[in-house]
Each structure stands twice: as structure tokens, then as C-alpha cells.
């Protein structure tokens, strides 16, 4: 029994990847947990320039979910490449570098400046609902998704995974557009655009009006979109949205994902997430599953 999984030409020791923006650069959780129990980490979304992120309230709880409006606070690609990457590069973990931007040019320049870092997968974030720099505009139209994928493809030698927004009518169409544009893989879903109003103050909670919903509340939506994407493209998929345990990981694999990312659940019960790889192994043993590849997309 091995929980390892092939993803493109890489081997993940298990299909659990920490989701971008929820795990920093891995250093904080590493103080408390053995983070190498995971299969990989998708690092906090980077932009060309450092960003301070959004003002005002940045988090709000909802039933079985949370909304965030961090607004891509990050140190910028140069600080990542020169200071952070050297500190973290030697981990026994698949490294995913998540990049956002506001214009095609800022995306391309950011990616070029990261080219010197020897990371495994570039995750192109065209789906952050919280800022223009998140590029959600690119991610909600098939044409612009294809365009940006193509341009990035031409500017990097990295494995290229495009992260899709759920705030679209037809996710399969967008995924196909990314495939045409030359993506190697798809990851989804980013947070669902949502809103909160405080009736006491009679104000919208977030300075930025809308914010991104994550957590178990969105899991059934995410599962549906992963399934639709798997039907629409041949690209390998990293599924995410509200996953909290091994059974849910298996649901995403069965829907067609080759690996998953987990974000919000680190906030609610980190212990439980680090136990998922062991849980997966027990499940495989019980069910006589020799390799996780057996169950990918079987529903």
C-alpha cells in the first residue's frame, strides 16, 4: 500500500497539498507540525510587486465556511526568490508557486523573475476574487483564460497549472480553453465570491465589498466542478474546496482529481489534516486499493 501518486512527471508521496494562501510559505506550521507528512505545499500567492493587501476586516465566519479578503498580501516575487526560496527549497515536498497579477505584463514579469528558483509547479492564479491583481477577470472568460495561459506558457519552462475560479457559468469551457492555451494541469476551485452585511452598523463587512468563501460549505460545489472539469479535459486536476478528511479526499479523487489541496481545514483542525495521509493508507488497506490511481475518476 502506498499513498503516493503520479502527477505529471512528478511523484507526490501523497495527494495532500496545502492550499495557497492558507499555509504561508510553510514556516509557521513547521514550528508545530511535521509538514513533510504532506505531499506538497502551494505557497502564498505572489505578485510582481510586494502588496500590503486589503484594509479593514479580512475574515468573517459563515455557516460551515469563512470569507476572506486578504487581498494577496505578499512580499513580492523578488523577496521570495532572494530570501524565502533559499530557506525553504530543500524540503521533501512538492513545491507549488502560486502567482497572481493585474495585467498580462505583470504576470509575465513575475513569472520570469521566479524562473531561477528550482520549484516544481507554477500555479497560475487567474481566480482570486479579492483584488484586481488576482486576475479573476482572466479566469471568468474562456478567451482571456486561453490568452493568458498561452502567454505564460511561452514564458516559462515550469510545469504550468492554471487555477480556476468557480465564479463562472461553464467551468469545463474555461478548463478546455486553458488546455488549448498549453496548460499542463488544472487546479480548482478558488474561493466563491460572496458577501456579508453587518446589520448593526448597516455596512458591508468588507472594505472590498465582496470576499472569497471557502471551507466545507463550498465542498459540494467544488466536487461538482472538479467532475465537470475532468469530463471536459484530459489534463490532470488538483481538486480543492472544503476538504477536511480522508473520505472527502477520496471523493475528489473519484470525481477525477489526481491530487487535492486543503486550506481552510488547517484553521479548524490542523491535527486532523496531518493525519490524512495515514488515514488514506488505512482506507486503501481496508478496501484493497493498491494504488490511488485506481480510483481517480471512477464515478
Amino acid at each position: 500500500m502506498k499513498t503516493s501518486i503520479k502527477f505529471l512527471d512528478l511523484e507526490l508521496k501523497n495527494p495532500i497539498i496545502a492550499a495557497s494562501g492558507t499555509f504561508g510559505f510553510g514556516e509557521e506550521y513547521a514550528e508545530y507540525y511535521d509538514i513533510e507528512k504532506l505531499g506538497g505545499i502551494s505557497y502564498k500567492g505572489l505578485t510582481l510587486e510586494p502588496r500590503d493587501g486589503n484594509e479593514g476586516i479580512r475574515v468573517w465566519e459563515t455557516p460551515a465556511g469563512m470569507m476572506n479578503s486578504v487581498g494577496l498580501e505578499n512580499p513580492g516575487v523578488d523577496a521570495f526568490a532572494s530570501e524565502i526560496w533559499p530557506r525553504i527549497q530543500d524540503r521533501n515536498l512538492i513545491s507549488v508557486v502560486n502567482v497572481g497579477g493585474s495585467t498580462l505584463e505583470t504576470y509575465l514579469e513575475a513569472i520570469r523573475r521566479l524562473e531561477g528558483c528550482d520549484y516544481d509547479i507554477l500555479e497560475l492564479n487567474i481566480s482570486c476574487p479579492n483584488v484586481k491583481a488576482g486576475g479573476m477577470a482572466f479566469g471568468t472568460e474562456a478567451k482571456s483564460a486561453e490568452l493568458i495561459t498561452k502567454a505564460v506558457r511561452a514564458n516559462t519552462r515550469k510545469r504550468l497549472m492554471v487555477k480556476l475560479s468557480p465564479n463562472v457559468g461553464n467551468i469545463g469551457e474555461i478548463a478546455k480553453a486553458c488546455e488549448s492555451g498549453g496548460a499542463d494541469a488544472i487546479s480548482l476551485i478558488n474561493t466563491v465570491q460572496a458577501m456579508a452585511i453587518d446589520t448593526k452598523s448597516r455596512h458591508i463587512v468588507f472594505n472590498n465589498t465582496y470576499a472569497g468563501l471557502s471551507g466545507p460549505a463550498i465542498r459540494p460545489i467544488a466536487l461538482r466542478m472538479v467532475h465537470q472539469t475532468a469530463k471536459a479535459t484530459k489534463l490532470p486536476i488538483v481538486g480543492m474546496g472544503g476538504i477536511t478528511n480522508a473520505d472527502e479526499v477520496i471523493q475528489f479523487l473519484m470525481a477525477g482529481a489526481s491530487a487535492v489541496q486543503i486550506g481552510t481545514a488547517f484553521f479548524t483542525n490542523p491535527d486532523q489534516i496531518f493525519q490524512i495521509p495515514a488515514e488514506l493508507e488505512r482506507w486503501m488497506e481496508r478496501e484493497g486499493v493498491k494504488a490511488l490511481e485506481e480510483i481517480i475518476g471512477i464515478v
Partner: protein, 244 residues
């Protein structure tokens, strides 16, 4: 479930004021004064843990004092002796070590972390005065009196009224943000350093998610990890009168 140390059991729980609860929990962790834990005593709802400061710590027992203000604290308040509770932490930095005579100014539930801090300073032989404001009723009076060299309570009024900071080497404060801002100003005028403990909505508690960012003079800081204690001048500076 739970890595070593994150599970605790309720050893004692009682109301010490209106909707104010004093909770004692077993733990294998060792917190410093001014640190906090993310508390959780439910399965699914609400989603996030609740940050609560250390009120006291004695060999294997950590104490909290909290006010019931919403769903999370309501569930915590209904715990019974021997119930399980998850303590993620201890997180955060705590107040700094400073030589000399220290003034601690608190308001409401902000008094809680000052108790642990005062007790610790006193145990180290430092002179420490507590000035504690309460809206209506003092809670845990005896404990606060024991914790410091001199403890004074203000009920209803402004705890900053008539404070003379020139007698002290530093002031630590925790409470409503306008109160802390006033304390920082008075410290500035008296020429002593001030330290404030900030409250922000949190998710991860460890510094990974950036939802608790506190704008400071020297850029963004993480309240959960770089704080919750910051130099007063860093947070309440010049035209920065309001921290959200």
C-alpha cells in the same frame, strides 16, 4: 485525535460575573503571560477556534477568563467539568521583559492577560501596579489584588483618569482600542515605552493566513504571531487613530 498537548480537560468552570466565565483546563503545554490559545469545544460549527488569552498558569493547569459574546463563547461557557476541549497554542509573543517598575492598565476582558503578566513580574521581584477598569462589576477581585504590588480598580469611569505615568519605567495595556490609544499617548507624554495587546479576528493563529494583519508604523504585522503585543508607538502613531 490531536497532536500531543492540544487536548485538554475542563478542571473547573464557573461564572465570576455577568456572562463572565472563569475556566481552568488541564494542559501539557507551558504558556507565557500575554500569549493566547485558540480554543475549540465543538465539532463542526462554528468553523474557527476562538482566541482567548492566558489568565493564569500553574503546573499543568491553564486558566482563562472570557465573556460570552457570541456562539463560540456560549458553547465554551456551557462546558462541564471533565469535558474535552482543544487548545491550539500557546500562540503569540506576550509582553516583553523590561527592568524596573511596570504599570499595567486594563479594561474589561483586557484585564485577563494582565493578570498573568503581573503575577509573573511580581514573582520575578519587579514592582508592578495594576489599574483595571470594569464597566459595571469587578470580577476575580482577590486574584487581581494578589497578582500585583498595588492593584486599583475603576468601575464605570475612565481607568486612565488621574494616572501618573512618570513613576514607571514602562506601561503595558490591554483593553478597548480607544483606551489603549489614550494610554499610549500618556506614555509618550511621560516619556516611557508602552506596549499594547491587540485584538483582531483570527483564523490560523500561527501566522500563515494573514487575516489578522495589523498595520504598524513599520509595515504589516501578524497580530497572532508578531503580536498580540506590539510597541504602542508602532500601532497608535500620529494619524493612525483607528485600527479596524
Amino acid at each position: 485525535m490531536g497532536v500531543e498537548g492540544s487536548e485538554g480537560r475542563v478542571l473547573s468552570i464557573r461564572e465570576v460575573g455577568e456572562e463572565i466565565v472563569h475556566l481552568i483546563v488541564s494542559t501539557e503545554t507551558t504558556p507565557k503571560p500575554g500569549q493566547f490559545y485558540m480554543l475549540r469545544a465543538w465539532q463542526e460549527a462554528p468553523l474557527l477556534g476562538r482566541p482567548i488569552s492566558v489568565f493564569d498558569y500553574n503546573e499543568g493547569k491553564v486558566e482563562f477568563v472570557f465573556k460570552v459574546v457570541g456562539k463560540g463563547t456560549e458553547i465554551l461557557a456551557q462546558l462541564k467539568v471533565n469535558d474535552e476541549i482543544q487548545l491550539q497554542g500557546p500562540y503569540g509573543n506576550g509582553f516583553p521583559a523590561i527592568e524596573g517598575k511596570i504599570l499595567l492598565v486594563g479594561g474589561g476582558l483586557g484585564n485577563a492577560p494582565l493578570h498573568a503578566t503581573a503575577k509573573n513580574l511580581k514573582a520575578q521581584g519587579q514592582a508592578v501596579d495594576l489599574r483595571l477598569g470594569f464597566a459595571e462589576q469587578i470580577f476575580l477581585e482577590e486574584e487581581f489584588v494578589q497578582a500585583a504590588t498595588d492593584t486599583q480598580f475603576v468601575v464605570g469611569g475612565l481607568v486612565t483618569d488621574g494616572l501618573d505615568m512618570t513613576k514607571y519605567d514602562a506601561v503595558f495595556t490591554c483593553g478597548p482600542h480607544p483606551m489603549m490609544e489614550a494610554v499610549v499617548k500618556m506614555a509618550r507624554d511621560a516619556g516611557i515605552p508602552s506596549y499594547v495587546s491587540i485584538e483582531k479576528r483570527m483564523a490560523c493563529g500561527v501566522g500563515a493566513c494573514l487575516v489578522c494583519t495589523c498595520k504598524t508604523k513599520s509595515g504589516n504585522k501578524k497580530t497572532c504571531k508578531d503580536g498580540p503585543v506590539f510597541e504602542g508607538e508602532e500601532v497608535f502613531y500620529e494619524d493612525k487613530h483607528q485600527i479596524s
